[in-house]
């Protein structure tokens, strides 16, 4: 399994960040978020569960509630904001990415009472 490193490049992220920004404004105005398909189907949360809640809480100023819902929300918002104002190209080893995902999954399983 020779996993390629993940490349976080500002130019590639920017269109997705803009789309996410539009969706975020809609959700803050009362539109429902995108439900987690895994959790909606099976009741088991996925590693990214709580992300919508986390981002919404963060941009409305509640850091505590944001971290509680999903600690990665802060990271995602930070990377998204920086990608809008400066160029960068970060290489993240695939093992680091998978490790973060796994840790996040354990956190969500505990938070939502499955573990």
């Amino acid at each position: 399994m020779g996993l390629e490193p993940l490349v976080l490049d500002s130019a590639r992220l920017r269109p997705a960040v803009l789309i996410a920004g539009v969706a975020l404004v809609a959700m803050l105005a009362g539109a429902p978020g995108i439900p987690c398909l895994l959790r909606q189907t099976t009741g088991i949360p996925c590693p990214c569960c709580g992300m919508t809640t986390s981002v919404c809480e963060l941009v409305t100023g509640d850091l505590g509630a944001s971290v509680q819902a999903n600690p990665l929300g802060v990271v995602v918002v930070a990377v998204a904001l920086v990608s809008l104002v400066r160029r960068f190209s970060l290489r993240v080893p695939a093992g680091v990415g998978l490790g973060v995902l796994f840790a996040s999954w354990v956190y969500q399983l505990v938070r939502l009472g499955v573990l």
Binding site: M27, I34, P35, L37, Q40, C46, T53
Partner: protein, 226 residues
């Protein structure tokens, strides 16, 4: 998942105006033992400095373009074909999602499957205890998803309705040919995996070295502009 198409591997010429431009700095320092010393004694004369960038028509030591640190050295799936970016693929999947959603909703009504509310309340940090399951409806949606995407991409030269509207198509990442029907269905099933982790498998193309989603990786495919 080890892709046979590592960005460091094949020096396929990039499409014009595409992502393949090597960083300017890489031209200044030739590799040791490279251009100054031809490998074959009595062989080719050392090329003039202005010959940089123009590959020799014959001979052993062609300049190999290095992929940049940004990972933009994608090999093109076929000369003249460019990979579709996130924006086009996003709009295409929205169109196809609406098509599949309409079919699923009609079938669910006929079959008497409860749609339910299936949503949690966004915007409050509390653990939502009233998260409504939507198992039957989502399983029906998964079946339609596999049939629609597998059928369209397998029998319509890699094009769904959304892809037709956006002028893009699924292709084999190595040959640039449309996928055989079986692999199109593998890709369609792979969509379920891509969507299961909060669409992370779809977003993967944003940071993947090969610009592939998870379902692209399962089927060894990519999406190109036509």
């Amino acid at each position: 998942m080890s892709s046979p198409n590592d960005p460091n591997e094949p020096p396929v010429p990039p499409p014009p105006g595409g992502y393949g431009a090597p960083p300017p700095g890489s031209y200044g320092t030739p590799p040791a033992g490279g251009y100054g010393t031809p490998p074959q004694p009595g062989g080719y004369p050392p090329p003039a400095p202005e010959a940089y960038g123009a590959p020799p028509t014959s001979g052993g030591y062609a300049y190999q373009p290095m992929p940049s640190a940004g990972g933009y050295g994608y090999p093109a799936p076929q000369p003249g074909l460019q990979r579709a970016g996130f924006g086009r693929r996003f709009v295409a999947v929205i169109i196809d999602g609406i098509v599949v959603g309409v079919i699923t909703a009609i079938l669910a009504t006929i079959l008497g499957i409860d749609i339910g509310t299936g949503n949690s309340v966004a915007g409050n940090g509390s653990v939502s205890s009233n998260f409504n399951l939507r198992t039957g409806y989502n399983l029906l949606n998964a079946v339609i998803t596999v049939l629609y995407w597998g059928g369209m991409e397998g029998f319509m030269q890699g094009r769904t309705l959304g892809k037709m509207a956006l002028g893009i198509a699924v292709r084999d990442i190595n040959t640039g040919a449309p996928l055989p029907v079986g692999r199109a269905f593998v890709r369609a099933v792979g969509r379920l995996v891509s969507g299961a982790v909060c669409l992370l498998g779809y977003l993967w193309m944003l940071w993947d070295g090969q610009k592939q989603t998870w379902h692209d990786k399962f089927a060894n495919s990519t999406v190109v502009k036509l």
